[in-house]
């Protein structure tokens, strides 16, 4: 099936089997290997991406389901000038990642959380981030990172999802 969608602001035209998962289409057909697969049954959250601004498990969706949609992945977070998104910077600063395998999903979940609940307190962060499993950190540093990013994010991370580069190009003014 032929599908077209926007991924990180760029148009993707694919011809996929109906059974092809969105995760495989992103990773193998679009070359966006930052989206990781940790369980392929929708529990671990490593493959979390945003579709039209809403978080979704790429492993539980077929590629054909995003025809016409706007997809954001971890690769779109970094600014075109190379500067890290505040959430990325906070994860580095707080040691919010060790092996880095769950990290792309964590980042996408954290961005969505801070966009929708910019005043999230620590308890809310723990509850909201519980859809993403990390086996390395013990979570404390991830919660620290999301709190730190919350302080640093003066502007929404998601802009109009139909415009180019919905992620990452906007940073707090220093």
């Amino acid at each position: 099936m032929k599908i077209s969608f926007s991924v990180n602001g760029e148009r993707a035209d694919l011809d996929v089997e109906p059974r092809r998962t969105l995760a495989d289409a992103l990773r193998d057909d679009c070359g966006l290997t930052g989206t990781h697969l940790g369980c392929e049954h929708g529990v671990c959250g490593a493959c979390t991406i945003l579709i039209d601004g809403e978080p979704a498990r790429a492993c539980l969706m077929f590629a054909v389901q995003v025809d016409g949609a706007s997809v954001s992945t971890v690769e779109g977070l970094q600014g075109t000038d190379g500067e890290l998104h505040p959430v990325q910077e906070a994860f580095v600063a707080c040691h919010g990642l060790q092996c880095g395998f769950c990290t792309p999903g964590m980042l996408m979940s954290a961005c969505h959380l801070l966009d929708t609940k910019p005043d999230a307190d620590r308890e809310t962060i723990r509850a909201e981030m519980s859809g993403n499993i990390c086996r390395c950190t013990g979570y404390q540093s991830i919660v620290d990172a999301v709190e730190r990013a919350r302080e640093g994010m003066c502007v929404p991370a998601v802009r109009d999802s139909n415009t180019a580069a919905p992620w990452g190009a906007t940073f707090p003014e220093e």
Partner: protein, 788 residues
């Protein structure tokens, strides 16, 4: 290095000022993070090669069955390449040990004749992509004749797993010291318990994966593998495939967690390599999914402890008599053997406690379950639970405070070096200090007061749990002798090169699955050579690049790989000084190197840069002083001979919901003597991550087989790993006593997992006055206990 005790310091935030003034001890920005945070990590799954094809494995639906037939005609007719056990029947994995009682058994590459656990690979299909490969599996027919399965290691088998071991016992050993029987007979109190621990999986977020390609031109195999042990893997693969070691290259790129599960050479790994040799020039890729991982990657900690401990009236531990049975699963895990858990349990059961009379029989028993292997903490999360249960029981019986009885029995600095009854030598001894700090952080007296108040008011009860443990880390050749395998894992190598531009490249034998070894090794080398952290590049995980390293296990790399990096970098610094002295006509003793500049002592400005010295070394041999060869590099090995013990104490206050049986952790404290912390964030991250795994294992994680040998917890909806909603904020403190190795470090990767079983079981016991002899302490189990 500060000798001060550091409690819960605020270490949040990368220390970007680190470059320059020495990087060790600072939270320098991790070298790994930029690629991992931007989605540009390089995991095996991400390897994409021309002509690549994909592999799917067919797995046994039976726990125990004879294979009576294999029909692959339909799959072959449909155009699939198919391999079955018969294709590789001449090769088997035989984990070896020279221990007298060890029964050597074989593990097939792909099962033939019979299957020994549900999920064992019996065939493989190669296709253009994974979807089609799985289509191909549907066309392969394997005929089975079911046999009686055994899933419990302490029940007699009706049909042995291996003919070589009719009783399923693959290994049995008795540790014996002093006079246990007489001392127990005269003890004031003897406590006795039967304790069982639940079956865990390490479950790294990245499952196993491999890409193998056979280069027919050179007769060379290249294998990208998410392994913790690339050099061991190369050694084993070369031996098993009859190849020269130099023609096997194993590459472990970014690896998404390991925790021991990836320190094993699996039959699937070997199958992939053997299939690649059959298909020259075609890269073969296998990416394990989670369902396969839960079925067929190694499990751990399925143990039973029959414990007897004698104390005098003052609570002094006099003797321990123990019988430990470990379920080692269907195969003696390669290359570590079925001894990995039982021998660790027997060697370290007495932990940080002084003990002279000790008898402990350990055995590894085969069953029709997935093989057990190394998992972070290896046996000690279970053995610490067993030992701490003895102290809690004795304290209750003798009317002594549970903390006080431990304080009376732990090894102290005055006892160091302390020879444990298993003859391991403890070199830390700072248990009391760790305990004091931990209790202070917990507000022990405050929690006790609250506990009394609640008992009177009838509110939800709270309890305090405690675990004291010693983590044997960085095992050198003497300490790694236990399992009597045909290799000793005491050493690692490191190469340090100053390049002609003055930047440094390190080819280290360490590997990393999240522990930040690229960063730590760069810190070590930068400081020892005298260059900036940012000017050091570390390359790891490729057997064609680094000379030798055993890899990541036994919390060994900071001590051993780090020691090798330090010693090698010191050699290189000496060479820079010698060459600079010759060029400057100065005395070597007057020169020092800092931030890539060479100074004459007392002079404020540098005389020459390391880059200028390096340029001479490689490009201007005409300027080389007499007697100095070109080049600026060194390679050395390091072996600490013994090990370094890391002391640790964990305490927690836990609230129990009588209505639901749920445990709520009110506060959790860990204080460790992890020696010198080279990167405090990484050290605390290791401890916090290990505790989280331990909490998951104590509360939720439990692999359950039914009587027919089917794994009934085959998804992450059944095998529950803790999330940010369950793992509490923890307080992590340090008593940093440098160990006697080049960097003063103690391993820190595993200790955190050792405490939670004992802490949560102890807290439950303390809160409700009930015995907790079976793990996990899941809400349903607690609730049942509460119903009486």
């Amino acid at each position: 290095m500060s000798e001060d005790t550091v409690m819960a310091e605020d270490s949040v935030g990368v220390d970007d000022t680190a470059a320059g003034a020495g990087s060790l001890g600072r939270n320098v920005r991790r070298k790994e993070d930029q690629r991992l945070i931007t989605g540009h990590g390089r995991f095996v799954t991400d390897v994409e090669l021309p002509r690549m094809r994909h592999v799917a494995f067919l797995r046994s639906p039976y726990g125990h069955a004879r294979i009576t037939g294999a029909d692959t005609a339909a799959a072959r007719d449909a155009g699939f390449r198919v391999f079955t056990g018969a294709d590789f029947a001449h090769i088997e994995l035989r984990a070896q040990s020279a221990l007298p009682s060890y029964v050597e058994t074989a593990q097939p590459v792909l099962a033939h004749q019979k299957v020994r656990f549900a999920g064992e690979a019996v065939a493989a299909v190669v296709a253009a992509d994974r979807y089609r490969a799985e289509d191909g599996l549907e066309l392969v027919e394997i005929d089975y004749e079911p046999l009686a399965p055994t899933v419990c290691a302490w029940e007699a088998p009706s049909e042995p797993v291996h003919v070589e071991a009719p009783d399923n016992v693959l290994l049995e050993r008795t540790f014996d010291a002093g006079d246990v029987d007489d001392v127990l007979a005269s003890a004031a109190v003897v406590v006795e318990r039967e304790l069982t621990t639940n079956r865990h999986a390490g479950n790294p977020m990245e499952c196993r994966a491999g890409v193998a390609v056979w280069d027919a031109a050179d007769g060379k195999l290249t294998f990208w593998n998410g392994t913790q042990v690339p050099h061991i893997a190369r050694n084993m693969i070369a031996e098993l495939m009859g190849l020269p070691e130099g023609r096997v290259r194993v590459i472990a790129p970014d690896v998404g967690g390991g925790f021991g599960v990836k320190s094993v050479l699996y039959p699937e790994d070997l199958a992939l390599c053997l299939m690649a040799r059959e298909m020259p020039g075609i890269p073969l890729k296998w990416v394990e999914d989670r369902a396969e991982h839960l079925l067929a990657a190694t499990h751990a900690r399925d143990h039973r402890y029959l414990m007897k401990a004698g104390f005098d009236a003052e609570g002094t531990l006099l003797a321990v008599d123990a019988d430990v049975t470990c379920n080692v699963g269907a195969y003696s895990v390669y290359p570590w053997t079925a001894g990995i858990e039982p021998l660790m349990a027997g060697g370290l059961l007495s932990g940080p406690y002084k003990l002279e009379n000790y008898r402990c029989t350990v055995r590894g028993v085969a069953t029709n379950t997935a093989p057990s292997g190394p998992y972070r903490g290896v046996a000690r999360p279970a053995s610490v639970f067993a030992m701490e249960t003895m102290f809690d029981a004795a304290a209750a019986q003798l009317g002594i405070d549970a903390i006080e009885i431990r304080r009376r029995n732990v090894i102290t600095p005055a006892d160091i070096p302390y020879k444990m009854p298993s003859r391991l030598v403890d070199d830390s001894g700072h248990y009391r200090e760790c305990l004091d700090k931990a209790l202070e952080a917990l507000d022990y007296d405050g929690v006790r007061a609250e506990q009394r108040r609640r008992r009177e008011s009838g509110e939800s009860p709270i309890g305090i749990g405690v675990a004291i443990y010693n983590e044997l880390t960085g095992l050198g050749r003497a300490a790694s002798a236990g399992p009597r395998m045909p290799f000793r894992t005491g050493h690692d190598a490191c190469t340090v090169r100053v390049n002609p531009d003055g930047r440094v490249t390190v080819l280290s034998g360490v590997t990393s699955q999240g522990q930040g070894l690229e960063t730590t090794v760069a810190q070590i080398v930068a400081d020892a050579v005298g260059v900036r952290y940012d000017d050091v590049d570390v390359r790891i995980g490729d057997t064609d690049e680094s000379l030798w390293g055993f890899g990541a296990f036994s919390s060994r790399q900071a001590v051993i790989g780090g020691g090798a990096a330090h010693n090698t970098a010191v050699e290189v610094r000496k060479k820079i000084i010698t060459l600079a002295a010759g060029l400057m006509e100065a005395a070597e003793a007057d020169l020092r190197i800092e931030d890539g500049d060479v100074y004459v002592v007392g002079e404020p400005k540098p005389y020459i840069t390391v880059a200028e010295v390096a340029r001479v070394a490689y490009l201007e041999s005409n300027r080389l002083p007499d007697g100095i060869d070109p080049g600026l590099d060194a390679t050395t090995f390091y072996d600490p001979i013994r090990g370094a013990f890391a002391a640790g104490v964990q305490v927690a206050a836990v609230e129990i919901d009588r209505a639901t049986g749920e445990l709520r952790i009110l506060s959790y404290v860990c204080v460790e003597d992890a020696g010198r912390a080279m990167h405090p964030q990484i050290v605390d991250g290791q401890i916090a991550g290990a505790i989280a795994q331990g909490l998951g294992g104590a509360l939720y994680e439990h692999l359950v087989y039914d009587d027919a040998g089917n794994l009934s917890t085959g998804t992450l909806l059944d095998y529950l790993m803790p999330t940010s909603a369950e793992v509490p904020d923890m307080v992590i403190g340090h008593v940093s006593r440098p160990a006697s190795n080049p960097l003063g470090v103690r391993g820190v990767g595993e200790g955190g997992t050792l405490g939670p079983n004992a802490v949560l079981a102890g807290a439950l016991r303390d809160a409700l006055g009930i015995d907790v002899d079976e793990l996990p302490v899941s809400p349903d189990r607690v609730w049942k206990e509460l119903q009486g």
